[in-house]
Structures are given as C-alpha cells and as structure tokens.
C-alpha cells in the first residue's frame, strides 16, 4: 500500500486521536493549567508508544515537561533526523469569542476547530501518521532514517527551559537535520517551505504613580498620571516612519539582500486578500518595506495588552495609581534578545517622568531569530518531499512568528528545515483556532517521503 492510500484509510483514526489530545487544555502561560500540560505530555507519550516508537520518554525540565521519542533506522549508517514541535497551547481568552468550546474540538466539514489544532498539536501528530504510512509503503519495520521527536511544553511561554534541555540532552539529540513542524504554508493551493523565523522577546512594563487612586477633581492636573506616562512611553516606541525609536534597536539588524527581496516579490501576494485574512481595514508599518518584508525580515515592537485604572461599567473620575503594558518585540537576524532587552530597559528608564516609578520584567531570555541555508541538502530534500506530496512546485517563504529553532540549530549543530502545513487564517493565538485536516494529511505524506529522500541522499 502506498503512503497516500495508507493515510487516507487512517484519516478517521487520526482525527479521533487529535480530538482527544486537543481536549487537554495545555496552556503553558497559565499556572492553573500546568497539570494539564503534564497530562498532555503523558497523552502524547502513550500515543507515540502506540505508534510503534521503541523508545518514548517524558523529559522533565526546570518548568513543564517535553516528550522525546526515538525510532532507530535498520541501517546504522542512515542519517538521523530530529523533528521538533510543541504540545502546549496559547491561552483561549477571550473565552466569550469562541463559537465552540476551545477545548471541545469540533469537526466542521474538512476543518477541525479547537485551541492547538494548528499550533501545534495537529502538526506534531501528523508525524506519527507519517512514519506509519512510510512503513506501510516500504514494508519495513523501521523508518529509513533514525527518527527522533522532541515535543516541548513551553513554546507558547517563550521556551524558557528549552535551551538548557537541549544542552543537557545533547548526546541523545544528536542529528544530521532538524525538521520543524510549527509554521505555515503560503496557501492551501500554494505549498511553500519556510526558510527563516523571527526571534522574540516580551516584557511587562509597570508604571507606578500615586500610592492610591486619586480623585481626578481634587488632584487632577497637578500630579503625574501613570496612564498618561504609559501612553507617552508606548507612543514613543515608533517614529513617524513606523521605525522603532528605541535607541540601539536596529544596531545588529542584517538588512535584507537584493536576492531575497526579489524572491519575496515573486510570491503571488494579493494585498486585498491578505487584508481580508488579517481582518484589518488597512496595512501599515515601517516605511520603505513591503508587507511581506515587514512581517518576515523586519523587527517589530508590538503592544499585546495594556491596562490601567477603571475598566468597569460607567465612569470613575480618578487619577489611577498604576498603568501596565505587555509588549513583544519580533527580532530578525542578527538581533540578540538579551541586547534588545537592555535597549528596552534603557528606553523605559529614559521615558518615565518624575513621580512615576517603572518596572520592566522580561518573560525569560527570549527567542533568537533564525534562517535556513537555502543551498543545503536538507532544504532540497524537504522541498522535493513536499512537492511530491502536494503534486506541485514548493516556494520559499519566511515566518513572522518565533520558536526555539535558533537554539536547535546552534546547540545541536545541525541545519534547520521547516516542513509544516498550517495556514495564516488558522486563527492561531486567537479565538476559533482551526486546522484543515486535508493539509495535516499532506503533512504526514510529506514526512513519509522526506525520510525516504533523506535516506537516499544520505
């Protein structure tokens, strides 16, 4: 039986398993859900055992557990591949905007709806189906490459313990290629491979003014208002050209080359369609760059949330005692998150007026940006495998999002390739996340072909 037929015949079983996993609310950012993240790891470990991986382990970290599975190739000379994904998910709030319960997955036509369906449980799980499909096609009882899966539990929290885990387990994780399945394709009918991702660092800024909320009549106009100080600080993050005004922010940015710029311009990009996918009334951003360049190869400073004072019903005429904001910064090669953190701290300190005290807390060391080497054997094999699965040419893209991929490549000393089938309209990190089941099946098929291709090239 060929891989494609095997996959089609096991679709029902695959979807049933994924639904079971999606029902576990493994929100790593929420301390109340940490037990669920652990349950999610255990579910995956059991599933991978059932798939046939001879060795499956739950690995403890300084935080939430990762799952590791290994299936040696019959041929000891075969290359070794490490597949990376994550089993934790984003928070589901605002809960009231979900049309279905975020943790009660629902099938609607070809779609499966639920938090984590696309990011990243669906994309992890297609590897279990892919390896079985490959075995069904070859008739062998082991994959053509030594297959290692490493599925972490803190990706949506910035992977604070992932680098340590990689370092401490480096011997077990040794590999020739790292395959990452946590990104998106250009479109359902235009398969593509990601060749780079932005880095990330995020923080909370707290500004404190008077020790208590003050009556805005009795004191207003004569004391500094922390909400106003926050507005000034946040407004000052960008200049009139949409460039980030934090001193030093661009110091290490590698400007996009003319070749890559031309490559990006070749993609069939339709601004109106993109705006519809973004559900935004207009595009905006840094002057001098196209929309795709702004998302893929330029850094950002984004306000993710803010709050201060009275946010309930009616009016409350106060000078609030504090103001808070959550910011994230997307980074591009060769920005280092820790250097960016220093620049942001210095900016905040310089932006705060007398009478206001500032605290800046970063959510861990951050995530470094990364990029694939387009001339590598691994990138060529992955492109060929996806082309075979989808039956069409596979283009290159980048990803505006972030993952611990730079650490994977650096610490394990192996090249990165991205094989993933999410879509930009999957509503990842938003209410009503979904995944297209047929694309997950194409992902499984691509994986089966890729192991075969790497074994031949290896």
């Amino acid at each position: 039986m060929d891989a494609r037929t095997y996959i089609e015949e096991h679709r029902g079983e695959f979807v049933a398993a994924l639904k079971e996993w999606l029902a576990i609310p493994s929100v790593s950012a929420d301390p109340d859900r940490h037990g669920d993240v652990r349950r999610s790891a255990e579910w995956l470990a059991a599933h991978l055992k059932g798939t046939g991986f001879p060795s499956v382990e739950v690995w403890e970290t300084g935080g939430l557990p990762a799952v590791y599975a290994e299936w040696p190739a019959a041929d000891p000379g075969a290359p070794t591949v490490l597949v990376y994904g994550h089993h934790d998910v984003q928070p589901a709030d605002p809960a009231e905007e979900w049309e279905t319960d975020p943790f009660t997955p629902v099938e609607r036509g070809e779609r499966l709806i639920g938090r984590g369906a696309s990011d990243d449980k669906g994309q992890v799980l297609f590897h279990a189906l892919g390896v079985r499909a490959g075995l069904a096609a070859s008739g062998a009882d082991a994959p053509p490459v030594t297959l290692k899966l490493l599925v972490e539990g803190e990706e949506e929290s910035g992977s604070p313990h992932f680098a340590d885990l990689l370092r401490s387990r480096r011997d077990r994780l040794g590999c020739d290629v790292v395959v990452v399945s946590d990104t998106t394709m250009w479109a359902a009918d235009t398969p593509s491979m990601c060749v780079g991702m932005r880095g990330l660092t995020h923080c909370q800024i707290d500004l404190y003014g008077p020790e208590r909320d003050l009556h805005s009549g009795t004191f207003g106009g004569a004391v500094p208002n922390p909400a106003a100080a926050m507005a000034d600080l946040l407004s000052g993050l960008h200049d009139a050209d949409g460039r980030i005004a934090v001193p030093g922010f661009y110091d290490d940015v590698v400007e996009i080359g003319e070749e890559e710029r031309a490559l990006i311009a070749r993609l069939p990009f339709d601004e109106e369609e993109w705006l519809a996918t973004a559900s935004s009334g207009a595009a905006s951003g840094e002057a001098g760059y196209s929309i795709l360049e702004r998302i893929w190869v330029r850094p950002t400073a984004e306000i993710n949330g803010m709050w201060s004072g009275h946010t309930g019903a009616g009016g409350k005429t106060i000078v609030p005692k504090s103001a808070h904001a959550k910011l994230s910064f997307r980074l591009v090669p060769n920005q280092e998150p820790l250097r960016i953190q220093e620049h942001v701290r210095a900016y905040v300190a310089s932006a705060v007026p007398a009478g206001i005290r500032a605290e800046v807390a970063f959510g861990g060391p951050g995530v470094r940006p990364c990029a694939s080497d387009l001339s590598s054997e691994a990138v060529r094999a992955a492109r060929a495998a996806m082309s075979r699965a989808f039956g069409t040419e596979v283009l290159y893209t980048r990803e505006g999002g972030s993952g611990p991929e730079a650490d994977l490549a650096d610490i394990l000393g192996a090249p990165l390739v991205f094989v993933a089938v999410g879509l930009d309209d999957d509503r990842i990190h938003a209410p009503n996340e979904k995944v297209e089941v047929p694309l997950l099946l194409k992902g499984a098929e691509s994986a089966a072909y890729l192991w075969e291709g790497l074994a031949q090239r290896g």
Copy 2:
C-alpha cells in the same frame, strides 16, 4: 441647650444612623446597584421624616431617585434656603485594596471608614443633626429659615437627569440661597469655604482594528495596532508644556485674575505636605501655574482607565483587536461641556490612523463649572457661621471637583454658597474612604448658625 451641646450629646445616635446609611451600596455607576440607590433614597426619606421635616418626598427622575424634604419657617417672611447633596456613591473597586469592607462602615478613633462617609452621605446627614440642634437652641418648633433639602442619586454618574429635575420642579425648589455640602475644607485646623468648582465631562473612547486578535508574529508590523493608536491618541492629548493639545479646548477659558491669584497664594500651602496627601512622588502639570491653580482654576484632560488585549497572567503575543480608554475633562469658567465634547470628538477623529475605527461615547451632557460671588450676603453669612462653629477665621478656596452646582444656580436663579467639612485626605473616589466625625459635627453646628444668621440678615 446650645447647639454645640445638643450636637455633642447626640453624636452616638448620629454616627449609628450614618453607619446604617453607609451600609447601603448606592453606586449609581453600576446598573447592578440601582436597587440599592433606590433603597438609599428610601432610607434618607425615612430619616428626614424622623428628624421632623413635615414634608418628605422621593422624587423620580429619568434615572435614579432624589430625595426632597421641606420644613417651612414659622415666619412666612423668612428667607428660603435649599441645601444640596447626593446620596449615591462612587464604585468601590479595586475591592481588594480596601482594608475593611467598603459597605460595612467601621469606626477607628474619631474616623468613620466606608464608601460615601465623606462623599457625600456624612455631609448630607449633618444637616439633619444641625436643624435639630438649632431647634434645641432656639426652643422653636420650626427652623428660622424655610429649609429645603434636595439630595440627588446620580451625582457620581454626572447628574444626567438633575437639570431636568430642577426645571420640572422649579416651583417647589424656589429659594434665596443654595447651600452646597459636597466639598472639602483646606484642613481640619484651617476651615475654609469653597467659592468655585470645576466642571466635568467624561467619555469612553473605543478603537477597533482587526476583527479579531491577531498573532503578532504572523501579522505584527504590517497592520495597525489599536493599542498603539490609542497610545498615540492619549499621548497627543498634552503638549510638552502640559497644556491640552485638543484644538479649541481653551477657547472659552477665563484666565485667572491677579486678585484671585494673590488670594490663592495667601493660603498656607506646603508642597511636601500636599505631595504626602496626594501620595505622589512629584507634582506636575501645566507650565506657568502653581499647584493650587492647576487644580482649581485650570482645566484638565485625565486618563481614568484604559485597557486592551491580554491583561492576564503571562505573555500573549497578539495584535489586539481593540483598545479602550476612559477620559475625564475638568472644566473651568466659561467652558461649556457640550462644546468641549465636540472638540474631543474632532480630535479623536483626526488622531486615528487608517484601518482603525473610533467611537466616542460621552457619559451625558456633563457638568458645568461654577463660582460664587464673593461679595454676596450669602457668602458672608456662611463664612460667619463657620467661623463661629470652628472658632477661627475661615479662608476661601476653590474645589477641583465637580457637581451640578452651576445648574442649581442658573436654573433656580439663586446664589451658591459652599458649606462643607470634607478633607482632601478623605480618600473619596478611592479605597478606604473615611470621614472625620468631629468635622461632621462642626458641619452640623455651622448649619444651625447659618440658618440663624440668614434669618437675621434676611
């Protein structure tokens, strides 16, 4: 028995009644509390009947009820006085910052702690004690002036129906003087009379961007972020000199005269002490004006609250779909709230970038600023009554806060005087509101003397 002795002897009874009233959470801004506002009106009506007012009525409005009580003088030629106060209170949030339950009043030494203790139930209730003390002193069975009390239930919501009430009840409310008991004195040992109040208009601004929260990696840097647009809009409210940058905002402002400026400069103002009362690390505000001038005779634009995107635990890397802010503007003679609302709407419309939709909702028509005529008979009588009660000279101040006093004066065609005993450190509109019971008793005494004084002058 003289008025002072009567008041001292009835202190326990007075405090017990006030505690009963404070236990009713009459928060007019919270629709869930509207039943309590009604209960509060009924409580007051019953109390005033018990005090001896021959005529007590609960007056319905387009919103929450007011209480009206009337006690005619024996002499039909005696002047008529209308006392104004309010029985609704500010919301109690943030609830976790109260050291005691906001609606379970607690005595600590000379203080009574609870929402509304100072603003304004304590100051309304001293009038019931004051009129009885006057009767005890005179031996008469009616006050020396015809006494009318009008206690509204929507002051903390901007008195949206108060002007209509005054107009529709103008015949009943006819008076020679309006006495307002809803302000503060300079200090417990420096009694003073307020001679003006700022006006107020407040609004909520809602900015809407993408139709849903977006992944800040997938879309960040290329779509307008409503939180960033809000920060720009709020930051642009003031220029570098602390002046309000909304075009047209100062058009109708009457600059302070040199005489009043000198009067304000005579007050024993200690900036360090004031900062301690404000619990603020620094003063700030409009260049070219003293702290007291900024609070009393200059208008403000204040952020009372704001919120957008993720405000829970941990990070959430989104471009939020909306951002919200609550603003209040304190106004000075002769700014008209409705004109200011037009200026603010125009400013918001001009400040919003492409792809962001703005809505501005004002909380009613606003409150006009007002001022007393310092040369009037009523101001002189009130000053003399307070001097007698406190045994010391009474100075003039203004109040930075707002009430429906301009409407009272304009619609009823009577001069305003302010007789009130709150303090700036009473934490009104903030957690742990309190009142100094001895000052409430001085308020009652002042009222008793004032009715006598007005009858003699009248």
